[in-house]
Assembly symmetry: C2
Homo-oligomer: 360 residues x 2
């Protein structure tokens, strides 16, 4: 395998309202150091993949609004590799766009697609599995995903059912199931032949383009019409985007294709999709408070997540158990950890108040 055929697409288009008020439309989660490690989520994603993909082969696709933020945070990425989508169109469109763009540079490219905002604790395993996937994708017409061994019947994740072939490092995928209800999630967990879909995909550029031709032919034709890596690319994309369907790569391609394979990977993975998952992945003190700020005094308080934008602010809490406390310049959120799924409601209500948009 020639290293220069390894490419990466970091998908960084989300607006991350689930992390309000830390994550806002102007400054979403992937551009924040949400765990307080010193590097933002997109920087962590870049740092990780940089070890097996040359910098000039790393692309970021994000909303136009976030192009300059991406440039600031990833100065090592060539600016022509930072691609701004004119509008949000879910993940199928950006994948065919990036496949076409990269194919125009290197028709033998193998691409790993990475969400910009996921946590991976076990980097070595990730890199090993990614190398394996690159190898498989280079030699086979496979669409490959990394699958996470589920540890609980989570109803917020997609599940991948695989066909077991003893002793193998990868398996043929039988079905994809998005966000099952709790009963079904429990049977998935018990059966042992389901993995979580981490949204990490690896394919040869020809494999993914041919899958798009089969399952999303209209979308693919639209993207055929542009001349990539030229001055005409941006105006052409601006014309195409309003026409293409909003559909995910999972729904549009992976659930339909017959050549999908999964590599089980124990990555120490979380999609950090909720404040609670941030709590779970944060260091905690002896009272199980997760509070990575210098001057926090807590009294009679346990199990709280405290996040401050301004690390030079003191916090005194008394009598709080299992709360999320997030403080930024623009907003203060205090809610029970078990209510973190109410965030959408809070944001809707805030949007409805006069000038409420400015807080989002």
């Amino acid at each position: 395998m020639s290293k220069s055929n390894n490419y990466c697409v970091i998908m960084a288009g989300g607006i991350g309202s689930r992390f309000w008020p830390m994550s806002t439309q102007k400054y979403p989660k992937q551009f924040q150091d949400i765990l307080g490690t010193g590097r933002t989520m997109i920087q962590q994603t870049y740092d990780r993949i940089r070890k097996i993909v040359p910098s000039e082969n790393i692309y970021v696709i994000t909303n136009k609004e976030y192009v300059s933020l991406t440039e600031q945070q990833l100065p090592e990425v060539h600016s022509e590799n930072i691609v701004g989508e004119p509008m949000m169109k879910n993940t199928a469109a950006c994948n065919i766009y990036m496949a076409k763009k990269i194919a125009a540079k290197n028709s033998e490219a193998n691409i790993i697609v990475l969400p910009a905002d996921h946590l991976i604790l076990k980097e070595n395993i990730f890199l090993k599995k990614a190398e394996l996937a690159f190898n498989l994708a280079e030699k086979n017409d496979y669409l490959i995903t990394l699958g996470i061994n589920p540890t609980r019947p989570d109803t917020g994740y997609g599940y991948i059912q695989f066909v077991d072939k003893k002793g193998s490092e990868y398996f043929k995928v039988k079905t994809f199931t998005e966000k099952p209800d709790l009963e079904i999630a429990k049977t998935f967990l018990e059966s042992g032949d389901f993995l979580w879909n981490a949204g990490i995909f690896i394919w040869n550029v020809q494999s993914i383009i041919s899958a798009f031709e089969s399952f999303l032919p209209e979308m693919t034709q639209n993207f055929d019409s542009c001349e990539y890596n030229s001055d005409e690319e941006v105006p052409c994309i601006d014309l195409i985007y309003p026409k293409v369907n909003k559909i995910s790569i999972d729904n549009g391609i992976l659930e339909k294709a017959k050549n999908v394979y999964v590599i089980p990977a124990d990555l120490g993975w979380s999609d950090l999709g909720t404040w609670n998952s941030i709590y779970e992945n944060s260091e905690k003190d002896e009272d199980q408070n997760a509070a990575k700020s210098k001057h926090i005094l807590s009294y009679n308080s346990k199990g709280n997540l405290i996040k401050l934008k301004n690390q030079n602010k003191a916090v005194v809490i008394d009598g709080l158990e299992n709360y999320i406390i997030v403080d930024t310049d623009k907003a203060l959120l205090i809610c029970p950890r078990e209510n973190d799924q109410h965030l959408k409601e809070y944001i809707q209500d805030l949007r409805a108040v006069k000038n409420g948009e400015k807080y989002l």
Copy 2:
């Protein structure tokens, strides 16, 4: 009574740590609009007394540190009337100082002494009682206080026992009692001949100087040595202050003098000494939340006090009952309302952490 003999001394030297983090050493309570009415406490005090005391006869005594803050907030007060104490020495020293200073201008002055940080809801009654007190002080060698009819056995206030003389508007004071325990406070309340000491005093300048000569002769001699309202005043005061005792006007004079009178006054008064008293004196919504900010969304939350320094900040609270939430640039406090007396402990602990002073 000639109106030009009416003088006022506003005492504004407190550092108000009981309102941390809103009130800080740099910017204490009396300089804040703690109830959100549009005027700070000292401005309210000025506005109120201005109706019966000419502006040029109104003095403020505060710590040197707060002189410029006072000048900013009270531009109508002559700058030579804003007096900075070189250090905190409790209320006896500042009262003899101001009496001497005013006597040097007008030996017939009648002075009303007002704390800068108290709430008075019934301004008309206050003005009526103050006029009565000015009249009494002009004609009699009386040291006069306004006494508040107690509504609960509060252990945080001083109590004044008076000798009842039916039908009078003022009574001779029998005893002063500072901060009684709960049992004693209850008997005070039941007996009906106790009033709260609001720290509002009215006296002729000769009466108070002669009381100081009797009960604090050493302190008085010290203050005799300065030439007031001249360039020598400040250096002289700077020399005297380190020598004088820290004693309150109550302990040093009023508890000893035999010519103390009290005017019962139903002022709608509070010393706003705790966050809870701020809560009690604030407007509340239908959930009994006191939150005078524009964009506060509350869910399953009742009885909370929410104070924000930045009125353009959104707040979302969920599942909080009877909490105090105070947010400033430097600190965030969340504690049960019933624990507001723990504030001193929080502040002590914060002082103990490295660089903790900067939050206070």
